[in-house]
Amino acid sequence: MTDPRLQVNVAGLVLKNPLLPASGTYGYGREYLPFFTPDLFGAVVTKGVSTIPWVGNPPPRVYETPAGMLNAIGLQNPGVEAFISEAIPFLETYQTPVIVNVVGKTVEEYVAVVERLDDISVVSGFELNISCPNVKEGGIAFGTQPDCAAQVTAAVRKATRKPLIVKLSPNVTDITAIAKAVEQAGADALSLINTLLGMAIDLRSRKPVLGNVVGGLSGPAVKPVALRMVYQVYQAVSVPIIGMGGICSAADALEFIMAGATAVAVGTGMFHDPMLPRKILDGIREFLQEEKVENIAELKGIAHR
């Protein structure tokens, strides 16, 4: 059921529709099969993949907050070799492009994951999660300083010719400075936002709820912040933007596109309703019909005019 009005181009990838899953909310695609297949999405963005297995954070790892949730999963993943032997054969059976989200504790680790996956044809591109702590810089996230963000982007850029997307952290003073730095370092596209750092305290135990003390806030509660950042970054860079942060409806998705996103991702919204991706696509189609829009690209950044 392809609809030419929904087709978009992100970093050279032709996507049949502008909807992706946000990394970490969709595993490697298998878990949502009771509700829809990976082919529903314009592309699949995988859960983060590291060089060796990461065990993740101690529980509790998630906690609901008003119109949102905190998570501190700790990027638990089986490592790139298990990803190749277990997830790739599954994803290969579908048509939709696969964008592998890459995590690391050092620049070398990011590069190693990308080099290992670069020759695998089903991998269409990479998304760098630069919200990981940089162990060589005292654990400060790569994505919070323009030079660190640029450094990891440039190093990965040298390792692959495949489309390179960099996912920006919102936990910064000026997200446009980071956006410009990674664009200059060779990013083909940007995705934003990652989660906003937050926490919760349990009154009975007098202690932080999350095992990791702090965690990332996501869901509808963060949407206005995410939308503002997409709007600002659109003005600052010329590479395409994948917008995300609390998208729970077609209207939300369209807002991000009007703010400047070429594509959008749904994450926590799927936890609210596992059928949400299908509903968003139906809703976008309905809107294009009602408003007589020939192609969704016509709406991109329209709020700036």
């Binding site: 970490g24 909310t25 969709y26 595993g27 878990e31 949502y32 009771p34 509700f35 859960k47 065990v55 993740g56 101690p58 529980p59 509790p60 790892r61 998630v62 906690y63 609901e64 008003p66 119109a67 949102g68 949730m69 998570n71 999963i73 638990q76 869901g219 509808p220 729970c248 926590t268 799927m270 936890f271 609210h272 309703d273 596992p274 059928m275």
Partner: protein, 258 residues
């Protein structure tokens, strides 16, 4: 696993904060096994808050009627929203989720140990296997926390009660009651569901008595399908997902922190 709009056939308040719901959801009732749970949406169609569905264990499975029954306790915003739903309302649910109980063939004399709202999944298990010899040990704060005793009676499963305040049955912990009774009854299998301190005590007793068994856990959950890794528990095999690797685990596998 299926998502559907379930019609509420029956709603009964069972006591302070406890509710019984019978939901018409034939596709789920067809597939459900004892020990599994369903995710019930806690928000109305128009709101996104509370955002996440609530995992609620299945109390009775009736494939002929196409219904599932649940019993839950209101503990926060989500469960209070669900408890406001009335007979004739529809509610969005998906499931069944989880592995469910695996009762080994050789399990003969089976002790079921329930703490508070951990009772419902044990009922679905006992109802599924009428030929097995179950005894229920059921603990709660007070007599009003011990639910559906008439249903257990109809099922013909003997039960022994324990309350923290002594208002019903044994005055003290259900695990102390079980420890005392086991010496005479010599169970050969134990299945427990309840709060973590109780499960930890059951695990220690099972180790001491060399009893095989299983425990059913609960956890904060986000996706409810196994994708987000938010509900993991520590086990001897590393972090495992309570939602789809559990909620039932082999009794010695789970690592409880101190």
């Amino acid at each position: 696993m299926k998502q559907t709009e379930a019609l509420i056939l029956e709603r009964t308040a069972l006591g302070p904060g406890y509710y019984y719901y019978r939901l018409l959801c034939p596709e789920l009732a067809d597939k459900a096994k004892p020990g599994q749970f369903i995710e019930i949406k806690a928000s109305s169609e128009e709101t996104l808050d509370p955002l996440l569905s609530r995992p609620i264990s299945i109390y009775r499975i009736n494939p002929e009627e196409g219904s599932l029954a649940v019993i839950f306790k209101t503990v926060g915003r989500g469960t209070r929203r669900i408890a406001a739903l009335q007979r004739g309302n529809k509610v969005s649910v998906f499931g069944p989720v989880g592995n469910g109980f695996m009762l080994p063939e050789e399990a003969g004399r089976i002790a079921l140990i329930a703490g508070g709202i951990g009772m419902p999944p044990l009922f679905s298990l006992a109802e599924r296997y009428p030929e097995k010899d179950f005894t229920l040990f059921y603990g709660g704060r007070s007599a009003t926390d011990l639910l559906a005793l008439d249903a257990w009676e109809q099922l013909g499963v003997p039960y022994k009660l324990a309350t923290d305040d002594g208002s019903a049955g044994f005055h003290g912990l259900v695990t102390s009651l079980f420890e005392r009774e086991h010496l005479a009854a010599s169970f050969d299998y134990v299945i427990a569901c309840g709060p973590k301190p109780m499960l930890k005590a059951v695990q220690q007793l099972a180790a001491r008595f060399r009893l095989p068994g299983a425990i059913s856990l609960e956890a904060y959950m986000a996706c409810g399908v196994g994708a987000c890794l938010g509900c993991t528990c520590a086990t001897s095999k590393g972090y495992r997902r309570v939602c789809v690797d559990g909620p039932v685990f082999e009794i010695s596998e789970v690592t409880f922190d101190d």
